[in-house]
């Protein structure tokens, strides 16, 4: 048993066979000796197996025919008879600019995980899931904090807010996901914090691309009045401490 433990990201790389041989060997040697990491690995495998089970609703039987009707109506009118002279420069261009598609996606087949390890106890599995939630929420809070700092410290006028809007939009979506899970698992403090943040994130996501001085002042006042920056920093610390406690309490089997 060493003091080294693979991170969740290390496990994801191992699962998808993207680790280097050395990294893979290290993870493979570690898992049988560490209950906490083995539980995290098993939880990862089982979660991604559920993802495999998700079906996509099939379109109707006449889908291909309908799609051809739509596509053919949108195709350029030409194409009746290209002469070699017309085709030659295009082929020459293709030869120089064609995108190198080297992979054979489908030939890889389905994802095959490394050799399974024995199922960990339910308690350890629950702790592993708790660790995942806290890690995700902690990252979410940190990203939100960085965004709020950017809004508070950016230029006062004529700012283009495209990046901030897109980031806020992504954070709204992921925040809802985490809030739903936190509510279900009874983590009401986290759920409430995510709820508080969502209001200002939605406002930012829906703001016009170019904010004038008044818009920016209003947004900053909203952040200040609610004390959001302080709250989100405190929440981040809280989550990180809980994460640390969880890691300490897990330990080897």
């Amino acid at each position: 048993m060493t003091s080294w433990h693979p991170t969740d990201d290390d496990l994801v790389l191992r699962f998808y066979r993207e680790s280097t041989p050395e990294e893979a060997r290290r993870v493979d040697e570690h898992l049988p000796a560490c209950g906490a990491c083995r539980a995290a690995w098993t939880e990862l495998e089982e979660t991604l197996r559920l993802v495999d089970a998700a079906a996509v609703p099939e379109p109707d039987a006449g889908f291909e025919r309908v799609m051809w009707a739509r596509v053919s109506a949108a195709l350029p009118a030409r194409r009746s008879a290209w002469s070699i002279r017309q085709l030659a420069p295009i082929l020459a261009m293709a030869a120089t600019v064609a995108v190198a598609v080297t992979g054979v996606y489908q030939s890889r087949g389905s994802v095959v995980a490394p050799a399974p390890v024995k199922v960990a106890s339910a308690g350890r599995a629950a702790l592993a899931r708790e660790r995942v939630l806290l890690g995700a929420v902690g990252d979410h809070f940190e990203q939100t904090e960085m965004l709020l700092v950017e809004v508070l410290n950016g230029p006062d006028t004529g700012s283009e807010f495209t990046f901030e809007r897109v980031t806020a939009d992504d954070l709204v979506a992921s925040g809802r996901l985490y809030r739903a899970t936190a509510q279900q698992t009874g983590d009401l403090q986290i759920a409430q914090m995510l709820d508080d943040l969502e209001a200002v994130l939605v406002e930012l996501a829906r703001s016009p691309e170019h904010l004038d001085k008044n818009d920016i002042a209003s947004l900053r006042a909203r952040i200040d009045d609610d004390g959001l920056l302080f709250k989100v920093r405190a929440a981040t610390n809280d989550v990180r401490v809980r994460q640390q406690d969880l890691m300490t309490s897990e330990g080897p089997l």
């Binding site: 969740d8 990201d9 994801v12 790389l13 998808y16 993207e18 939880e43 979660t47 991604l48 559920l50 993802v51 998700a54 079906a55 996509v56 609703p57 889908f63 291909e64 025919r65 799609m67 051809w68 596509v71 053919s72 195709l75 030409r78 194409r79 009746s80 008879a81 290209w82 085709l87 082929l91 293709a94 064609a98 995108v99 190198a100 598609v101 080297t102 992979g103 996606y105 489908q106 890889r108 339910a122 599995a125 629950a126 899931r129 995942v132 939630l133 995700a136 990252d139 992504d170 979506a173 809802r176 996901l177 985490y178 809030r179 739903a180 899970t181 509510q183 279900q184 698992t185 996501a205």
Partner: protein, 192 residues
């Protein structure tokens, strides 16, 4: 139609010469698999259909860039993912009462789902789709390419024009969100 017997390479060669019947062969052969990809990216049938159409039209226009030694389906997937990303970025995110409702419903189920619920594939599909919708377009494309299509990180970088670290982190974030979203199902599984 005679061209129905054409393999992809022959159909592409003819379509490049302006033969629309040959292109029709390709459309009919691949539109369903592009639809599955587009549905996972957009989460809505009507949006998925728009993405399929745009993918195929874009592919037709870019046939001259296709390298005949490459796999046509692979090339088409690459265009499909990029079309879906463009589509999602251009179309403002629906203010999602539906998505919210779904998440709330999933999250506030009285008690954990029963074993019957667990085996009910629709529940799993709904949760997975909700989780996919919480990913950014880039995270979603990278995750789907890796998980469902088995693309390597290197291939994902090429298709989405990302650096290695960005592609990896998109997948890490996506997996993290999927694990959180599916946690209730995992908890119920352990309890049962």
């Amino acid at each position: 139609m005679k061209q129905m017997r054409l393999d992809d390479a022959a159909a592409v060669a003819r379509a490049r010469g302006g033969d629309q019947d040959a292109f029709r062969v390709l459309v009919e052969r691949h539109s369903r698999s592009i639809y599955r990809l587009a549905y996972r990216m957009t989460g809505r049938p009507e949006d998925a259909e728009d993405v399929v159409q745009e993918t195929l039209v874009r592919a037709y226009r870019q046939l001259g860039r296709f390298e005949s030694r490459s796999n046509f389906a692979t090339w088409l997937y690459r265009i499909g993912f990029n079309c879906a990303i463009d589509y999602m970025r251009a179309k403002p995110r629906r203010e999602s009462p539906e998505a919210d409702d779904t998440l709330d419903r999933l999250a506030t189920n009285d008690g954990a789902p029963s074993v019957d619920d667990l085996v009910y594939a629709g529940e799993i599909s709904a949760r997975v789709q909700s989780a996919l919708e919480a990913l950014s377009p880039q995270e979603r494309a990278a995750f789907l390419m890796r998980h469902y299509h088995g693309c390597s990180i290197e291939e994902i970088c090429g298709a989405l024009d990302l650096k290695t670290n960005a592609a990896k982190h998109s997948i890490f974030r996506a997996v993290k969100k999927m694990r959180v979203a599916l946690r209730p199902l995992m908890d119920a599984k352990v309890e049962s």
